[in-house]
Symmetry: C2
Subunit: 332 residues, 2 copies
């Protein structure tokens, strides 16, 4: 059987049954944004690994090396944010085709260093090697979070409200412009492209939410709201209703969709790579966030029944599939 017939999630299920011969220090293994480990510290230790592959996750045609460097560390930072953690140490492995200019790599590392400095992350190791053709960046990032504050995917509760820390869909629209509409030139163009090429990780928001005591579950929006909320529903054995009119959409996304006669909800729900946080918890979280001047949007509710619904502005509810990008089948 070929991998694209099985699909990414099918393959992960096939290979990831528990291999934990030494369980004592393990709080969480595969199945969340980070693994969570107990050390002698009062804080728990978080570890996450992400791969970025040229031609799959980025192309040198549409990004510059400095933004690519920033994004490669940001997607890992976002995983630490999704647990409520503070990032600590990075390990950066790159495989480089021989024809790549040293100047490209210098700029890539400049971008990486900008973001690691900004979030006070140490670079403590890695590996550097050549590749035949593909350019790849593999980053492992550690972080810490107080024991009682770590937020998982599998702890959402019926009745929880669902919150987002920022607008969704911009990144997917930016990618759409880069790939399919280079001629698009309305005012929002740069902002949408920026959302795709240079996302900013919500570390501060993640810490705030984890410390608030009001949140029960959290994930970052990397696969898209419907897929990532789907992960929370799967892991927590719950369902959900999203209020489509409550989804935070930027003016730039609305303008783009208006110009193209597209539905912004498609970008907002299935887009991916927004790297905002999605959490569930007590409705009091919203007021608390607003009095702390933190952007937070209440987009729906966790249901006891395991079904998933969207409710539109007329109050009509219809079921939806959790769609996200499948890296092997090459389709949502």
């Amino acid at each position: 059987m070929k991998l694209n017939e099985l699909g990414e999630f099918g393959f992960i299920e096939r290979i990831s049954p528990d291999h934990i011969p030494r369980p004592n220090h393990v709080v969480r293994g595969i199945g969340d944004d980070c693994a969570v480990i107990r050390t002698g510290d009062p804080d728990l230790y978080l570890i996450t690994t992400d791969l970025l592959i040229e031609g799959i996750h980025f192309t040198r045609k549409t990004t510059d090396p400095r933004r690519l460097g920033r994004k490669s560390i940001s997607v890992n930072l976002s995983d630490i944010a999704a647990m409520g953690g503070v990032p600590r140490d990075a390990f950066i492995a790159i495989a480089v085709p021989e024809n790549l200019d040293v100047e490209f790599l210098d700029a890539l590392y400049e971008g990486i260093h900008e973001r690691t400095q900004e979030f006070q992350v140490n670079i403590l190791g890695g590996d550097t090697t050549s590749s035949l053709r593909d350019f790849m960046i593999s980053i492992t990032l550690t972080g810490t979070c107080p024991d009682s504050q770590v937020l998982f995917r599998n702890t959402a509760r019926p009745g929880d409200h669902i919150f987002l820390t920022g607008p969704v869909g911009d990144s997917a629209a930016g990618l759409d412009i880069l790939l399919n509409r280079p001629e698009y030139d309305l005012t929002g163009r740069n902002s949408l492209i920026h959302a795709h090429l240079d996302p900013y990780p919500h570390i501060e928001q993640g810490r705030w939410i984890a410390q608030s005591g009001y949140a029960h579950a959290m994930i970052d929006v990397s696969d898209g709201v419907s897929a990532d909320l789907g992960h929370i529903c799967d892991e927590s054995s719950v369902g959900c209703t999203i209020n489509s009119h409550a989804l935070p959409l930027s003016d730039e996304l609305r303008e783009y969709c208006h110009a193209l006669k597209k539905d912004p909800l498609d970008f907002a729900l299935s887009g991916g790579e927004d790297y905002v946080l999605l959490c569930t918890g007590d409705p009091a979280l919203l007021d608390s966030a607003h009095s702390s001047h933190m952007e937070l949007f209440d987009i729906g509710i966790i249901e006891e029944s395991r079904e998933r619904f969207i409710r539109n502005s007329h109050g009509m509810r219809y079921p939806f599939q959790s769609r996200g990008w499948d890296h092997f089948s090459g389709s949502p």
Copy 2:
């Protein structure tokens, strides 16, 4: 400038000046087999990352997926062994071209699981994605070691004896057979090929050496004895003399070199991928190892002057260059 003009080590020096804004918990960053971190534990925490790239580190033509799986985790285990550590948690990221069979990946993971089970290593995470063409495995492995026992590269002392925990050169000869002499059919063939495709990490030896109290510095032989001893000399600001007749050579390597009229010292000194350990320390380590029935070979001495010599069986000393594989220039 192209990367192959700068070379791998030139590039690493270019990108790895200290980026350690949060130094308090860091015992060692870039520049050793593992990063070393202080947690609340009495033991120090070790982290290492290795990339294996198809066409650079392996080809599907010469290995089978099960051995490739075992080797990919073994090269990381060897880095933990080189610090004197016990391995703990693995994070496995793979990038897979679409045309790869699921059965190949099943066998790869079977090999990984065999070795992680054997060394009681948890698999706690990773990432799985497609690639356009190259097949890549990136493994991050953690381990622990009591604070007073961790062995670094930069702590060799003049007068130290230099020890190896096993024979060297077999892996390079095995690779030579696979690539250049498929017709070679003397008795040692399988043993040499096995040394290359399925090395066994010296975790037990590394722990024993670290606990002995006699050792001062350690590294694993991945780039070749001359290059890896060269790393110890560079980092410790010392020199060395290797007694060429004392290098442990297998009968199979001698037989291969005799048949091909090659000098086994070339394989032994510059070969690489042996994954035995090289340590320096008090000469008493040798007797102590032998009374514990641990294989250990005394191959030379650390010198105060920073020069590097080989002494042959006639007592003649001549200088040598530390040669190892450079992943970018594609040459030693």
